[in-house]
Amino acid sequence: MKNSRSITSANRIILIVCSLALAAVIFLPIWRIELDAAQYPEGLELQIYSNKLAGNVEIINGLNHYIGMKTLHADDFIEFTVLPYLIGFFALCFLLVGIRGKRKWIYALFAAFLLFGIVAMVDFYRWLYDYGHDLDPNAPIIVPGMAYQPPLIGFKQLLNFGAYSIPDIGGWIFIGVGLALAYCTGREFLTHKQRKPYIDNV
């Protein structure tokens, strides 16, 4: 009986490690947007943490006023208040599922985490769209039809700047945790399916 409703100890260890990794994500940069131009051979970067913006925020704000983009202020994002708690919550969930080891919980965790990832990316896209399109009509530089939405992921040329958007260390950990969870969930699901006839026989 015990075996049938619990997950394997290997998977439990993975989940506990994932929990610690998620806790670390709270303090690490999750996403980065790198900007490159002739005058900035050293590059400019914007780092997004769970609770703040870092990197050359002021310089980027100074440059963005030419195209009428709103200035970036951490206070404008409700996400920075909520996100650390959400990630903390998930870290706790991972720990709990890892310790208790109930198989049903891991399915629930996987679903919730996947949903969280999707919602987070949609939200991120929404902000990028908003900043790229909601431009001051009195801006010094107006290029008809031009929007300055940075790519969600990958590279895009915006006037003289090349913008390169990629996960930062925290983001990679997040993706890694997601993959590990998917792996554990998949393993559990398959094992359970194989065992089912045996259980039925009993």
């Binding site: 002021e58 310089i59 100074g62 006023h65 030419y66 010094p140 530089i141």
Partner: protein
């Protein structure tokens, strides 16, 4: 027949003429090696190996070049005003050029020397001297700006300076023109030189952390002209060697009257001993002096100026063991100490040999009382032969300065014979000579005055340029010449033009300075009393006829850019704070009719321009440093009304409602 004779004679004459042509000395073309271009070429985007700090002579400034490219990077204003940088024009920098004689806008910056730790350049500061109104300056190598200037009392012509001891405990300042000590008693007949004129050698201490100057003590000497000096290092650490000319104590037509004696002197001073006497309170406090001490404060971005009135003087003739004279042929100029500290090279300007003295022998002579029977004005004179290591025979004509490499060789500049001569310090054998174009004065080997010279490059700073560059009328730049000295023979690589008249120079490895070079001033650390904290605080305040404009600059607007309510008779102070926090984003500020210069405000800095309007009307102002695509739009207007006008004080940017 006759025709044939003419033909033969004509042919012979032509042959003679062409062969004389062939005998002419070859020009510079043959002196350059084939791959010189490759060895001095720094591809775009790459860096030079060395920073070359070069004195600007009568320009009063210090210039910074790259080696081996010879490219000019920056001119650091030191003793002369520089309207380009607002140096001496902005309210903040004016105190730096104050002296006991008032505001002095120009000087003659002669020598420079880096700060040392254990006899090696430590990359903290450059020291510089002014020769006319005697002063000493300290340049900060993080900001490449002048941080401090101190005036030297009792001194006329601070030529023998700013040479520093092995750990920059002291920077030396010594008079080239002996004068009567400062004070009311200095009103004496000029022909009373011998009794009334005195030399003073100042020991200016340098704070290890802040670099701050303090004239610790002065040594008073008989009237002499001190020319150049080197502090001992290694075995001779604790000593100082100064070349002295005019031992004749002439006061007129020195060209003839100071060239009579076959030998003048190198003065050897036991400065550790002098320091002991000073600390033991053996000096006399002189309180009739007045000298300026000006300091730059990096937090307030403002200089302070104070007049000091006291200096401690030790008369060397009252001490038995402070100073000794070594006879040195013919008005010595350079007195240069070898990397080990053992050899002292004296260069007599009019001599045809170079005497090299030994520190060990000098010490033996002193302890053995091996002196000439007659003292010179109370100072013991060591016998020439007793201190002599040997003479470099037939080196050239008119030796001036000597620097050293990392392989035990010395390089001496010869003004009269216009060449650099390489010789071995131990064997005194001449190894190589290369012509310079023309008449080299100072020369510099990278690290050539340190304990472990970097070697590799030598730069000759020539006094005469003539045909080296495209002609520019009667006034020509001075030319520098770069030699590669890594091989047995010196190889000429490059000519490059310089600012003013380079006397001495220093070369520091790029990686000693590159990383710590400051990029911006942190605006949050800006403690300027008239700083504007952001555009929302930009404003105009009147207090009587003093009007203060709290102004900000950021790409690409000035706040406020509309100013009204200024009246005739007002003194307007534009306190410009550059809000930028990005590297290489200075903004300039200039207003029509200002009787001074522009401002050039670095990111995070506050700088002030004083302006007294001279007529009513509208005065445009603008950013002078092309900062952005909308730089041309970065401008504004001031309205000046008659005195007593009822136009209210008003200022704004981008809206027509008054912000004040």
């Amino acid at each position: 027949m006759k025709l044939r004779q003419y033909l033969v004679f004509g042919l012979a004459a032509a042959t003679m003429a062409t062969s004389f042509q062939a005998c002419r000395p070859k020009g510079a073309g043959s002196a350059v090696t084939g791959d010189a271009a490759q060895r001095t070429y720094i591809p775009p985007g790459q860096y030079d190996e060395f920073y070359n700090f070069v004195s600007g002579g009568f320009s009063g400034q210090m210039s910074v070049y790259g080696l081996p490219s010879g490219r000019l990077f920056r001119v650091i204003p030191v003793f002369s005003v520089d309207p380009e940088k607002g140096w001496g024009f902005s309210e903040e920098t004016k105190p730096m050029l104050q002296t006991s004689h008032g505001f002095v806008p120009w000087d003659d910056l002669h020598h420079i020397e880096s700060s040392f730790t254990n006899g090696m350049p430590d990359g903290k500061w450059m020291f510089a001297n002014s020769n006319n109104t005697p002063r000493l300056a300290r340049i900060n190598l993080e900001t490449f700006r002048t941080d401090e200037i101190i005036e030297i009392p009792n001194t006329g012509g601070n030529h023998c300076s700013p040479f520093t001891t092995e750990n920059s405990e002291y920077v030396i300042a010594a008079t080239r023109f002996s004068v009567p000590p400062d004070g009311a008693d200095s009103d004496v007949p000029i022909d009373s030189y011998k009794e009334n004129f005195k030399g003073h050698i100042s020991f200016v201490s340098v704070d290890k952390e802040t670099g701050e100057f303090d004239i610790a003590f002065q040594l008073k000497t008989p009237g002499l002209n001190f020319d150049l000096s080197s502090a001992g290092k290694g075995v001779s650490n604790g000593w100082l060697f100064i070349s002295c000319y005019n031992s004749e104590q002439a006061h007129t037509l020195l060209e003839v009257n100071a060239s009579k004696n076959d030998k003048d002197f190198i003065m050897a001073i036991n400065w550790k001993k002098a320091e002991e006497y000073f600390k033991a309170g053996r000096g006399t406090k002189q309180t009739n002096v007045r000298y300026a001490h000006n300091k730059w404060d990096e937090h307030t971005h403002t200089a302070s100026h104070e007049i000091k009135t006291e200096v401690t003087v030790l008369d060397i003739t009252e001490f038995e063991d402070l100073a000794y004279l070594i006879p040195c042929p013919k008005s010595p100029h350079g007195a240069d100490v070898s990397p080990t500290g053992e050899y002292i090279v004296g260069s007599g300007k009019l001599a045809a040999l170079i005497p090299v003295f030994s520190f060990e022998k000098l010490q033996a002579a002193i302890s053995g009382n091996d002196f000439e029977s007659e003292r010179y004005d109370g100072i013991p004179v060591v016998k020439y032969e007793s201190a002599l290591h040997g003479e470099v025979e037939k080196p050239g004509l008119g030796p001036l300065h000597t620097e050293f490499d990392d392989k035990g060789n010395a390089y001496t500049s010869f003004f009269v014979s216009s060449e650099v001569v390489k010789w071995n310090v131990e064997t005194l054998e001449v190894l190589d000579r290369q012509p310079t174009y023309y008449s080299v004065g100072h020369l510099m080997v990278a690290g050539g005055n340190s304990k472990n010279p970097y070697g590799k490059y030598l730069v000759a700073y020539n006094k005469i340029t003539k045909d080296r560059f495209l002609p520019t009328g009667p006034e020509l730049c001075h030319s520098a010449q770069l030699f590669d000295i890594s091989g047995d023979k010196m190889e000429l690589l490059l000519d490059f033009p310089t600012i003013g008249e380079p006397h001495y120079a220093q070369a520091l490895p790029a990686d000693l300075l590159m990383e710590k070079s400051l990029q911006i001033y942190d605006i949050n650390a800006n403690k300027h009393p008239y700083k504007t904290n952001g555009e929302s605080e930009a404003r105009v305040e009147r207090n009587g006829n003093i009007v203060r404009v709290y102004m900000t600059t950021i790409r690409s607007h000035i706040t406020p850019d509309v100013i009204e309510g200024i009246q005739m008779g007002d003194e307007v102070y534009f306190h410009v704070t550059n809000l930028e926090q990005d590297w290489d984003m200075p903004h300039g500020f200039a207003i029509k009719g200002a009787n001074n210069s522009e401002l050039l405000v670095m990111p995070g800095e506050t700088t002030t321009l004083k302006w007294v309007p001279d007529r009513v009307g509208i005065f445009p102002f603008y950013c002078t440093d092309f900062c952005s695509a909308l730089h041309q739009e970065m401008s504004g207007y001031v309205r000046v009304s008659p005195k007593g006008s009822n136009v209210p004080i008003k200022s704004y940017t981008g809206e027509s409602t008054p912000t004040t």
